[in-house]
């Protein structure tokens, strides 16, 4: 889009930052939570926290799909791979630790594990090798789940099955707002999840919890403006749901994607790494599609895994309770080269994003 660069206009950014200082309360802390790894990247990369008043804090919630995938589901993928099934998945998920090993560790032991860019690539690979079994590790939030639904309805090849591990964002936001000791004052809602689900699922946050909630895009000005809108709502004492990202998010969302997801998935309770079970936060395949379910096809079921390794504070980083720099392992025992926790593995993990920026600042 030709006008895209204007979303990074430094003069406009400066003016919005001044407005933020004007509308922010002079006393008392304000804590705004976002739930998207890409928002954390924008905030960290463009130094947005440094533009805010001292009493306004922006924290990162569980917005990294790789990070929240519980060890038990990684263990299932590892078990399937060790049974001789070729497991495909998005890059980072292959490195995320299971209870004992990651998919890449399984690869080192001889299992076949391949990185793909999309589920359609995974299917194309399986079609080329019809005599081999393939399983696709389908992680991701509402942004990604529609592509899985499309391919399930397209009748995938017989030698292909899905480990469906998709998670839903609004139930996680509900969990965060109900954690009283987190003391949240507003939500920046995730723009790309919202392109699919629309605005309605967020209505409860202002209505029931009195939380200003603003859907934001991913340019630095989008995020700055969303922070301004939240602070303005707080100042007026009128919490409401607003959409800053109107160029991509419609009120109703992507209804075509929603219909396909409803056809293919049921919503069920789901475990989130380090957090535990969140009610109605996971997609599972509906019974009529069970022949595509890798759990059933390859007979694996892991109930409990080891989500957090000794000393790791991922479970606190993931809900924004501590900053990565407050973890004793951060950049000591836990580095991008040798990650201990999932938050250091994924390029959308808060720890990993902070490392990149700290390195940039140091240079």
């Amino acid at each position: 889009m030709a006008e895209k660069l204007r979303f990074r206009d430094p003069d406009l950014a400066k003016r919005i930052a001044e407005k933020i200082h004007e509308v922010a309360p002079k006393e008392g802390a304000v804590k705004i939570c976002h739930v998207c790894g890409t928002h954390e990247w924008t905030i960290t990369h463009f130094g947005i926290r440094s533009l805010l008043p001292e009493n306004v804090e922006v924290i990162a919630g569980p917005g990294c799909p790789v990070c929240v995938t519980p060890a038990s589901e990684v263990d299932e993928a590892v078990q399937i791979a060790l049974k001789g099934v070729a497991v495909t998945g998005f890059g980072d998920v292959l490195r995320v630790p299971g209870s004992k090993m990651s998919l890449l560790d399984a690869k080192a032991e001889g299992a076949e594990v391949r990185v793909v860019y999309s589920v359609s690539d995974a299917i194309r690979i399986a079609e080329k090798e019809p005599n081999k079994e393939f399983a696709f590790f389908a992680i991701g939030f509402e942004t990604t789940a529609p592509s899985t639904a499309v391919e399930i309805l397209n009748k995938p090849p017989e030698n292909f099955s899905f480990l469906v591990s998709h998670r839903l964002i609004p139930p996680a936001m509900k969990m965060l707002v109900e954690m009283k000791d987190l003391n949240l004052n507003g939500f920046i809602a995730p723009g790309h999840v919202s392109t699919i689900i629309g605005l309605k699922p967020y209505e409860i946050f202002p209505k029931i919890y009195g939380m200003p909630t603003v859907i934001a895009g991913f340019e630095p000005l989008d995020v700055l403006f969303a922070i301004y809108m939240i602070l303005k709502q707080l100042r007026e004492g009128k919490p409401r749901l607003e959409n800053e990202y109107t160029r991509a998010v419609r009120w109703e969302g992507n209804t075509k994607a929603q219909e396909l997801m409803q056809k293919v998935f049921d919503v069920t309770d789901g475990g989130w790494r380090g957090i535990g079970s969140i009610p109605l936060s996971k997609y599972r395949l509906r019974d009529e599609f069970e022949k595509h379910d890798a759990h059933l096809k390859h007979d694996v079921k892991v109930e409990h895994g080891v989500d957090i390794q000794h000393g790791c504070r991922c479970h606190l980083v993931i809900i924004g309770k501590i900053k990565p720099t407050e973890c004793p392992l951060f950049m000591k025992a836990c580095t991008p080269q040798k990650p201990v926790g999932a938050c250091m593995v994924s390029i959308e993990g808060t720890c990993r994003i902070w490392v990149k920026t700290i390195n940039r600042v140091d240079k």
Binding site: L12, I16, S120, S147, T246
Partner: protein
């Protein structure tokens, strides 16, 4: 993971479209989830277009930002 990148639709054939991410190389993406026409900008996530971008809204957003900032400066 939820990263989505805008691309311009160059051609459409059933569920597949060739799009330009602005790098001069055309790539094929799946457009089963959207009603994309030639010339539209779509948001592409993991090989699938998830929404058609509204160029008018993009311009409107920037205009509104300026307007709000101006109006509130005057009110002061």
């Amino acid at each position: 993971m939820c990263l989505a990148i805008p691309a311009k639709v160059v051609s459409v054939k059933e569920d597949k479209a060739r799009v330009d991410f602005g790098e001069g190389v055309l790539r094929e993406v799946n457009v089963a989830l959207v009603n994309a026409k030639i010339g539209d900008y779509v948001l592409v996530h993991a090989g699938y277009a998830i929404q058609v971008l509204d160029e008018k809204e993009a311009l409107e957003t920037i205009r509104l930002w300026n307007e709000i900032l101006e109006a509130e400066t005057v009110q002061k």
